[in-house]
Amino acid sequence: MRTGSRRPGRIGAGIAGIVVALIWAFPVYWMVNSSLLPDAVLQSSSPTFLPFGGSWSNFTAVVSGGTFLPALGMSVLVALVVVACSLFFAFLAALAISRFRFRGRKSFVLAVLFVQMLPAEGLFIAQYKLMSSVGLLNTVLGLSVLYIAAIVPFTVWMLRGFVAGIPVDLEEAAMVDGLSRTQAFLRITFPLLAPGLVAAGVYAFLQSWNEFTVALVVLQDDSSRTLPLWLRGFVQASASRATDWGQVMAASTLVAVPVIVFFLIVQGRMTSGLVGGAVKG
């Protein structure tokens, strides 16, 4: 609430803002900081707050442990399949519901909205049974199908907004000028959709990269784990001895930093992409 621009109020707000910023950033900072400290330093009785660690030994230990790279490969593979398929399926469906009026349209929209709210925890036991009965436990295909189904509803909804935001007149004008419907779509509409596709793709990527619940029931084999499962396993394996928090934090950093960097870059790009598209259109 604005309390006018009296000085003490503003200074108080500034201090409060900095305190809140510190609280929210601290866990992320602490993860990176601890990952760079050797275990001997972490075991000392008082914590080390400043990043004077500079020791990469935790990272080399984690990566050379031999389980990280297979999990990374698994995560990348699942993410690629999920992003490609859910974007394609959702795009077609978004086109149908925003460009056509047809019988059953409303039921589909309703289904999409409800399915999007369904908790994984309400279905995962049944999905586990399904995957085990068709022999797709511990496979990229099995996990991807479940992820695509979970992600498609929201991406449909997201893309619907973007498709509907592009005036049909534009397409029709191009058709009057002699382009076929498909050509008009590919040359006029598709480029305007790019920001929407990027946004939806990022959403799909983050969902599939971070997902834990469904992966936990579908991937039971240690040799077919995605990164979140690998990280959990790493913590548990480490906890059977005295937990080596330096290595655990290095492992967490390896999982988190790519996502954070990606998220921050895209956050900026996405807004500028939206604005750029609007101006050019």
Partner: protein, 319 residues
């Protein structure tokens, strides 16, 4: 799959983008159905089929014999009847609801507070605050959980160290042993994870509140609290309602956080919420009948809660 908060914001963004729509074709033809086919197929396979299986098995009995391949006999509503009379289920349900209300309430209070704070901050501090919220928002859940376990570690955790340095004796205090402090830690983590989404959404909503109206009210002698409840809240009510609803739905089914905190050695039966209880029934004891019945309870509850959200979204689809 848990919807991340980014889902909601993107929903709002796409909602804003999706105004000027007009259907191009009203003729009947196969095109729209063909376009829907892949999405419908994957939904039917991965959601529809398990849902039907779940409804059927909630009416069946799964015991030891079924694990050795015997077909499961139908027992009607026995699983449900047993659950309704099972005091442990009610404990878990009430615990989940209590946790959800506390976590969602605290998230809303802190999130709205941070959003209001962002409005009065000098630009430089506001950007620092926004970057820090984005960092927390971008953290993968599992990575966040390991960090928070390290922060609350009983031996070398920085939380115990800080509290001890502040004069309280928290040396060697294990936060995750007692159910109550277990849930307090879980709630803190959930609030930390969810506040960025609430803060950014409400902050976006606050741009609709005009400075002039607030200043006029101030000159007329309205106190900050009066201005907040009398002017700001009514204007941003739609955003608040949707964000609160999403928080309730998400916090009701919190699984990953509880499961990973239980890994640290808490007693599962004392710290189970609905999600972890279903998991335990389904994978631990292979009691698919009961697990399905509880799952259906969760699904019905979610659908009932989502109805408001869906109604709002449908209106937007029609506009």
């Amino acid at each position: 799959m848990s919807s991340t908060p980014s889902a909601g914001v993107a929903a709002m963004a796409s909602a804003a983008a999706g105004r000027s729509s007009r259907p191009a074709s009203r003729r009947r033809r196969p095109a729209p159905y063909l376009l829907l086919l892949p999405a419908v197929a994957v939904l039917v396979a991965a959601m529809g089929y398990p849902l039907v299986w779940q409804v059927i098995s909630s009416l069946q009995e799964f015991g030891l014999a079924q694990q050795f391949g015997q077909p499961a006999p139908f027992v009607g509503l026995d699983n449900y009847a047993r659950l309704v009379t099972d005091p442990y289920l009610w404990t878990v349900v009430l615990r989940s609801i209590a946790f959800c209300l506390v976590a969602a309430g605290a998230t809303m209070a802190v999130g709205v507070g941070v959003a209001l704070l962002m409005r009065v901050l000098p630009t430089a501090v506001r950007i620092v605050l926004q970057i820090s919220l984005l960092l927390a928002w971008a953290m993968p859940v599992v990575a966040s959980m390991t960090v928070w376990r390290w922060l609350f570690d009983w031996r070398r955790g920085v939380v115990n160290w800080l509290l001890t340095a502040a004069g309280l004796d928290f040396r060697g205090h294990n936060w995750l042993q007692e159910p109550l402090s277990f849930f307090a830690v879980a709630a803190i983590i959930v609030v930390w994870m969810s506040v960025p989404f609430v803060a950014f959404s409400v902050y976006a909503g606050l741009t609709q509140v005009s400075e002039e109206v607030l200043e006029a009210a101030q000159m007329d002698g309205a106190s900050p609290a009066q201005r907040f409840w009398g002017i700001v809240v009514p204007i941003i009510r739609p955003v608040l309602a949707i964000v609160l609803l999403l928080q309730i739905i998400w916090d009701l089914r919190v699984f990953t956080q509880i499961k990973l905190l239980q890994d640290a050695g808490s007693i599962a039966s004392e710290t189970n919420l609905l999600g972890t209880y279903i998991y335990q029934l389904g994978t631990g004891s292979s009691d698919f009948g009961t697990a399905s019945a509880v799952s259906i309870f969760v699904l019905v509850l979610t659908v009932a809660l989502s109805a408001f959200y869906v109604r709002g979204m449908l209106k937007e689809d029609e506009s």
